[in-house]
């Protein structure tokens, strides 16, 4: 039996990663994720693992590439400007089909932006990370406990699909303290890592690469990647629905924003407004079916994000014009208040 302990999100993710068998961590300092590498620097060597502070995010992600190719469970973490630098490496990792877990504690951009919580990297995480036809699996926790649970799942998803997985949070998720429990979880059956480079002793040599000069090869490879992402769409969709049974309006929100929306919904319900929440937990694969289904029930949707409107595009695609989809955004590094959301909700319902 395991007891609950009070931990910061960043530290809890690090602990969950170590418990998931992560042996190698490469990173570069940036706020608001600094507690995560610090925890790794403290704990990983004690367990025979390796923590290394790289000279840049570019180097860190390429160390991840090497460590993953060598067969290790490996993680890196950063925040928005640093993720932009990792983008090149992430494209190579996806192209070479290597598993790894990347944490992005998003801060408001563009450029250096601010360090306040933000969801303005949704497009980057789910669609436009870097060049080429590839996707990351993207998991967005709304509590420290969920961050812990998803971290474990992230490593398994990465190994199952041989694809990078991103945990997308922000400074609130990373730095708030909540009681967490590290549950013992049985490992799912995962494919054998028979592709690693460790010196080809007594076996055929392995080659890890993303260069495919023959158009037939690259075409086939990209369709193979596309099938993986389709498979994720079948098997890896995660979401939460709250008070949707009788809802006339659905608010769609994820991560930190969804926590505030839950409070707003409680207040709205007290006033007799029939509103529910759809909270995507996996941003890729996006829970489009559940939103599509809700479009048959509710009169309208409201998407709330800490951005000028990114996930709302996926909500609109899923709703496909059947209902109106309104948007409320907070793009400057501030968490919207329940009161603001309530005002917007009433406006939408008019």
């Amino acid at each position: 039996m395991s007891d609950k302990i009070l931990m910061k999100g960043n530290e809890a993710i690090a602990e969950a990663a170590i418990r998931a068998g992560c042996t190698h961590f490469f990173g570069y300092p940036i706020t608001p994720q600094n507690e995560l590498p610090a925890y790794m620097a403290e704990k990983l060597p004690e367990q025979g693992g390796v923590f290394l502070q790289a000279e840049s995010e570019v180097a860190a992600i390429n160390m991840v590439y090497g460590a993953s190719a060598a067969g290790a469970r490996v993680m890196t973490s950063s925040s928005s400007p640093g993720i932009s630098l990792k983008a090149e490496g992430i494209s190579y990792i996806a192209g070479a089909e290597l598993p790894c877990v990347i944490v992005n504690m998003v801060r408001a951009g563009p450029g250096l932006g601010g360090i306040g919580p933000s969801q303005s990297d949704y497009f980057q995480a789910t669609k436009g990370m870097a060049h080429g036809d590839f996707r990351l699996a993207v998991l967005a926790p709304d509590s420290v406990q969920e961050a812990v649970d998803l971290t474990r799942q992230a490593f398994d998803i990465a190994d199952k699909y041989r694809n990078p997985v991103m945990i997308l949070g922000d400074g609130v998720i990373g730095q708030m303290m909540e009681p967490v429990e590290f549950k013992e979880i049985d490992s799912p059956e995962l494919p054998e890592k028979d592709w690693i480079v460790d010196g080809a002793e007594g076996r055929e040599r392995n080659i890890i690469h993303s260069l495919r000069l023959k158009t037939e090869d690259l075409t086939e490879h990209n369709w193979k990647l596309a099938r993986k992402y389709e498979q994720m769409q079948e098997d890896e969709v995660r979401y939460e629905e709250k008070l949707m049974d009788d809802a006339e309006v659905a608010i769609v929100a994820y991560g930190t924003t969804a926590r505030v929306v839950k409070t707003a919904i409680k207040e709205a319900r007290a006033e007799g407004i029939k509103v529910g929440l759809i909270r995507p937990i996996s941003l890729f694969p996006f829970p489009k079916k559940v939103i599509k289904k809700a479009a048959q029930q509710v009169d309208c949707f409201l998407t709330v994000e800490m951005s000028t409107g990114q996930m709302v595009e996926d909500v609109r695609l899923a709703v496909n014009g059947e209902r109106s989809v309104a948007f409320y955004g907070s793009p400057g590094g501030a968490v919207p208040s329940p009161a603001e959301i309530l005002v917007k909700l009433k406006e939408v319902m008019e």
């Binding site: 840049s56 180097a59 090497g66 080659i207 690469h209």
Partner: protein
């Protein structure tokens, strides 16, 4: 009967794609011979660059990995930190090692990463068709320096080995050339030493190899060898810049 000039075991049967007179092929062979002689074929992981040698993973009969442009030292770091008992080497051109990847090169050396780098300095970007490299000599023509490298505009050719030899973590730094049989022999000795330094766990080892690119220099293979001797060696002097004595 002993075979004296067969293909090294650590090279595949694949024919090189390099241009006539290009010395990339000679260096591949030297690296493979060293790996054979040290009997480390089944312990070694090689990293190919982005550049003319990107297909090195087809030529070395080893576990191989292709890295993004300039990132091999970081990738090698990741591998070596997982398998400290294995041998990891990077093979990189001057654009890869001394321009886009300078930070990765300097810091891998500075950390004393126990890896070996074979750095091909041909004073030009080969793969992309003859643009100026950080190592392009003053006055040397390139497609992006059509009137020759003007140091007032484009700065000075980078002496990577001299720079890295100042770092504590770089324990073996040598510059060699493969333009004559005698120098090819010396080059092989340096490469062997750079692998032995790694096997001993002493620190970072670098061998810079002055190499030809007849295609983009606009010279015949023989003229290219002469040009290397007359122009590159005076600016990039040969020899061990930093050594650890005999490594056995």
């Amino acid at each position: 009967m002993e075979e004296l000039a067969g293909r090294p075991k650590s090279l595949t049967e694949q024919e090189f794609h390099y241009c006539p007179g290009c010395t990339h092929g000679i260096v591949h062979r030297l690296v493979a011979e060293v790996i054979d002689e040290l009997d480390i074929q089944e312990q070694t992981i090689g990293i190919a660059p982005v550049g003319c040698a990107v297909l090195a993973y087809d030529y070395f009969d080893l576990d191989m990995l292709e890295a993004a442009h300039g990132r091999p030292p970081a990738v090698a770091t990741g591998i070596k930190r997982v398998h400290p008992d294995k041998v990891v080497f990077t093979y990189q051109g001057d654009g890869d090692y001394a321009s886009i990847g300078t930070a990765e090169s300097v810091h891998a050396a500075s950390r004393g990463e126990r890896i070996t780098t074979v750095f091909i300095n041909n004073a030009i970007y080969g793969m992309t068709g003859g643009q100026m490299a950080p190592t392009t000599l003053e006055g040397q023509k390139a497609t992006t320096a059509p009137r020759g490298r003007d140091t007032k505009e484009a700065g000075f050719p980078l002496q990577m080995s001299e720079m890295l030899a100042t770092l504590e973590g770089a324990v073996y730094v040598a510059r060699v050339s493969v333009d004559t049989p005698q120098r090819i022999k010396q080059a092989k000795e340096a490469i062997k030493k750079a692998f032995k330094v790694q096997l001993k766990g002493l620190g970072y080892a670098l061998v810079e190899v002055l190499s030809t690119c007849p295609t983009n220099w606009g010279l015949s293979p023989q003229q290219a060898l002469d040009w290397l001797e007359d122009n590159m060696i005076p600016y990039y002097p040969l020899g061990e810049l930093k050594s650890v004595g005999e490594v056995e």
